[in-house]
């Protein structure tokens, strides 16, 4: 797949069009958010995961707009062009759809966090894949509470699942994403599993009475 092209687009946008801040400000701010949630939900980590996902969803919806504005939707008439570039390489429509998700995931995370996750472990129907995060700035400086539960129950970076879900929903793709491993839990990788649920049709205005 044209992952080279994708990462080049991401790199290009990142370098030229994205206003930057110190990454540590983001890392530490995220840390206080998670800590606050753990406190508010009385260390009910399932609820914390859910709330983080919800926050991510809201962020994703906003992020994609920013991304589209930055990536010069102007010159390309619309986002389908990205997929078109891939289509020209001559892939069938199923892989094309998959490629579009991958594009947005990779470029999106590049712009959100300045990391490019690796795409791997596709299912044969191209409806599921994994994103492996070699780097995860959100988890810098982090150690989970040693309470015997957090490492089994808390997905510290769960906000990222929501970010992806929100972003893709805005471009008419409903997906489901969840972490399957996390370095913070003692795993060797940080891996997110992403599945395509359906493509979203245009909504119609409510019928006139």
């Amino acid at each position: 797949m044209s992952s080279n092209k994708t990462s080049r687009i991401g790199e290009e946008i990142w370098k030229t069009r994205v206003d930057k801040v110190n990454a540590e400000l983001v890392t530490l701010t995220y840390g206080t958010i998670v800590a606050q949630l753990c406190q508010d939900y009385d260390s009910n980590y399932q609820d914390v995961n859910k709330q983080l996902e919800k926050m991510g969803y809201n962020i994703g919806m906003r992020l994609i707009e920013d991304f589209l504005a930055k990536s010069g939707v102007g010159r390309c008439a619309n986002f389908r062009d990205t997929a078109d570039m891939i289509a020209k390489v001559g892939l069938n429509s199923d892989t094309l759809k998959g490629a579009r998700i991958v594009d947005i995931s990779q470029v999106g995370f590049k712009i959100f966090l300045n990391v490019t996750p690796t795409v791997t472990n596709w299912t044969s129907d191209n409806a599921q894949f994994s994103l492996i995060f070699e780097e995860n700035p959100l988890a810098d400086f982090v150690e989970l509470p040693d309470d015997g539960r957090a490492q089994d129950e808390l997905w510290f970076s769960n906000i990222l699942c929501g970010v992806l879900r929100g972003a893709l929903e805005m471009v008419q793709m409903q997906i489901e994403a969840h972490f399957v491993s996390d370095v913070l839990r003692g795993d060797d990788t940080t891996e997110m599993r992403v599945s395509l649920v359906r493509y979203i049709e245009d909504e119609m205005p409510p019928e006139e009475e």
Partner: protein, 249 residues
């Protein structure tokens, strides 16, 4: 208003206020309930990575704005009014201040010892500020640069004889307010209360009991200009006098 136990908002020490006994139904595991955390075999843990690794790393400003935005929205749902909201934002900034202080000291020593080799720490202990002015300069300069990539715009001492304990740090265009359009009915709100909390954390961490609040002071040129009012406690002022007399800088 009694301040909540502030350390409770810090994740890494949260086991400190949660005694280990608090687990009646432990999940059945064959492994012995081993103390300590599991670590990845490739040793990607905070202990194995250099603290300065992320020093010059960058993230997107929009990401920060979105994250901060979610924090404000989340806080908004759990509060009753503007003051309450600001208080909560302040409380979320506080632990950040404590941490940033450590980071600042750690870095100020390692850079002063040698310009390039970041790994060697000098033998001289970090310079913890003892006097108010040194502390405020630390906030105005290094802290602001670490957080926002530039120094704050002004540092002033209250001119009123009644309030010698009041200092003002001004930011003409606070990063946290970049995208915030406060509705008229909430015109008092300043989300930079979060930054006020950070300042409070830094001061407290240095042993200066302080209350810090963020206030809108717009000018034509700087519509989101914000003044952080730093009010030191009586004990701090007393100590300041003693230090003054004994000539401590």
């Amino acid at each position: 208003m009694a301040a909540p136990p502030r350390h409770a908002t810090m994740l890494s020490i949260s086991n400190g206020d949660k005694p280990a006994q608090a687990q009646p139904q432990t999940q059945q595991t064959t492994l012995p309930q081993s103390p300590g955390l599991r670590v990845p075999s490739n040793r990607k843990t905070i202990y194995d990575r250099h603290l300065n690794r992320s020093r010059n790393a960058e993230s997107s400003r929009a990401s920060f704005a979105f994250l901060f935005g979610e924090m404000v929205t989340y806080a908004q749902r759990r509060v009753t009014g503007i003051q309450d909201l600001e208080k909560r934002l302040n409380e979320q900034g506080y632990p950040l201040g404590l941490r940033l202080l450590d980071l600042l000291f750690y870095r100020s020593t390692s850079t002063s010892s040698s310009a390039l080799s970041s790994s060697s720490t000098s033998s001289s202990p970090p310079n913890r500020p003892l006097r108010i002015i040194t502390l405020l300069h630390l906030i105005h300069g290094p802290l602001w640069r670490l957080l926002f990539g530039r120094a704050a715009d002004a540092l002033e001492h209250s001119v009123s004889p009644d309030t010698p304990n009041e200092y003002m740090i001004t930011d003409n265009d606070p990063l946290v307010n970049t995208y915030i359009s406060v509705p008229r009915e909430m015109s008092m709100l300043n989300c930079a209360a979060f930054v006020a909390g950070i300042i409070e954390g830094v001061c407290d961490g240095c042993g200066f009991e302080t209350k810090v609040s963020a206030h809108n002071q717009p000018t034509d040129l700087w519509p989101s200009r914000t003044v952080f009012l730093v009010r030191f406690g009586d004990a701090v002022m007393e100590r300041e006098k003693v230090l003054e007399r004994s000539g401590v800088k």
